[in-house]
């Protein structure tokens, strides 16, 4: 469990990125921080592994104040995946994945063997192990990034817009892959994105952020979609328009769903199971 208690962050230039932020992030679940730029979401994420230290307030992981932990050691125990993979260009794929285990003193041979197994886990061909990052596609690089994040089998995995830079088709593929991985591994995932669809797809708990890290709403995707807390949330998730605002029309005796732009969204086939309502895609 990760707990933010009245956390604030003011950068040296005076910008108040996060103001009095409190949040509990449950273990073994995916929590998605979603917001537009300036919402402080990345700053919040980077506070968890002390890439950024708060100017006020505390952050606890399983009851331990992380300010009392040595940053380098803390980071080695937390997986981190970032937007442009951040792989080391001069190291082969397998060595990139083995980076943190090697830092932690795992023998080279073991680390490499584990890294190869990790490539399987994230759905990468072992044949790519001896390539350099620049020889991989964007999607493959991101998978390597995920493999590196998971290499030390951390309890916590931080993901900073990890699929933001790949094309939509690959992104959808990677999102499904993450859903699968998470169902197998059950990590405490903290995921940052500006894409509401992505947040609703991946998040068990979704945190919608306004400017300065103010929480507009917390809840499951269903909760949020069914009961947007205010106009900001409703407009942010697009509940009042487009493909989320569906209504039923009858055509030749069948009920079809039409969105607010009049585009056909699907057919109504009966009562959906609870929990699956809401997000047509």
């Amino acid at each position: 469990m990760i707990e933010f208690r009245s956390v604030s962050k003011q950068f040296p230039d005076g910008t108040l990125a996060v103001d009095d932020f409190s949040l509990t992030i449950p273990s073994h679940r995916t929590t998605v921080l979603v917001g537009s730029s300036g919402s402080g979401k990345t700053t919040l994420l980077r506070m968890i592994n002390r890439m950024v230290d708060p100017t006020a307030g505390t952050i606890e992981i399983d009851g331990v104040d992380i300010a009392s932990l040595e940053p380098v050691k803390l980071r080695r125990s937390i997986g981190y995946v970032m937007q442009n993979s951040g792989l080391l260009p001069h190291r082969k794929v397998v060595d990139n994945v083995a980076t943190v285990p090697l830092l932690r003193g795992v023998p080279r041979k073991t680390a490499r063997a584990d890294a190869l197994a990790m490539l399987d886990t994230v759905g990468l061909d072992r044949g790519l192990a001896d390539r350099y990052p620049s020889q991989l596609s964007g999607g493959q690089q991101q998978r390597v990034g995920v493999a590196r994040g998971l290499a030390v089998n951390p309890n916590i995995l931080l993901m900073d817009e990890p699929f933001g830079a790949v094309d939509p088709i690959v992104r959808a593929e990677l999102q499904q892959e993450l859903v699968r991985l998470q169902s197998e591994l059950g990590k405490t995932v903290v995921f940052v994105t500006h894409d509401v669809d992505e947040a609703f797809l991946l998040g068990d708990q979704v945190v919608i952020l306004e400017e300065g890290g103010r929480i507009a709403q917390i809840g499951s995707p269903t909760d949020i979609l069914a009961h947007p807390a205010n106009d900001f949330v409703a407009s942010f998730i697009g509940a009042d328009r487009g493909k989320r605002a569906l209504h039923v029309e009858r055509h030749d005796g069948r009920e079809v769903l039409v969105d607010s732009d009049g585009r056909l969204a699907g057919v109504l086939v009966g009562d959906a199971a609870p929990g699956q309502v809401g997000v047509p895609r």
Partner: protein, 246 residues
Amino acid sequence: MNIFGDALNWIIDPANYSGPGAIPMRLLEHLGFTFLTLLVASAIAIPFGFVIGHTGRGRGLAVTTSGGLRAIPTLGLLTLVALWIGIGLGAPYVALTVLAIPPILAGAYTGFEAIDRGAIDAARAVGMSEVQILTQVEIPLGLPLLIGGLRSAALQVVATATLAAYVADFGLGRYLFSGLKTRDYAQMLGGSILVILLALALEGIFATIQRVVVPRGVASTRLLVDRARPARPRPGMEPAITKGNP
């Protein structure tokens, strides 16, 4: 082309290969001087350059100082120092070390700046200590530009060492000055050819080293490394110019 024939004759004349002031000895003096100067300049410039590149601090100061040092005419500095500390090798050593520092310093920190910020940020985020980031990420990735800086410095030192013969009795430059004095054009030209060959040989060696030290995974983005566009975004940035062959 009779003049060149004379110069070549001078170069291969066995008389110039024995006794004091023999060609091999002058060549060794020249090379040894260059090597030692580079060594001392590197010992001063590289640590500073690494600190500037790693922390991003002190860059403005380094640029200004280097710029100022570069604007100073080498011959002026050489003769001035020679007046201060007397004729001999001391003055050239001091003057040339000072002149060799800016390119090495710039090579060291621009090498770091050219590295993708994301890679360094990620290295820190996964738990590399600052020393590990330096040794495992920044130095290997910044090495090609550092070698580029050493290459510039080496050429500058070899060239100025020729002039240093004006204030000290050493190196290949002696042939040029004594030829000038006695109007012995064959000796002057022969000496010049030797200096030029030495400079080109060093240029070739450094160009090769520079190519070899490019980490293999980066080789496909060689052009970028060559032109050293810093990854750290800066307003008004123009493509940088670096010396050397493509």
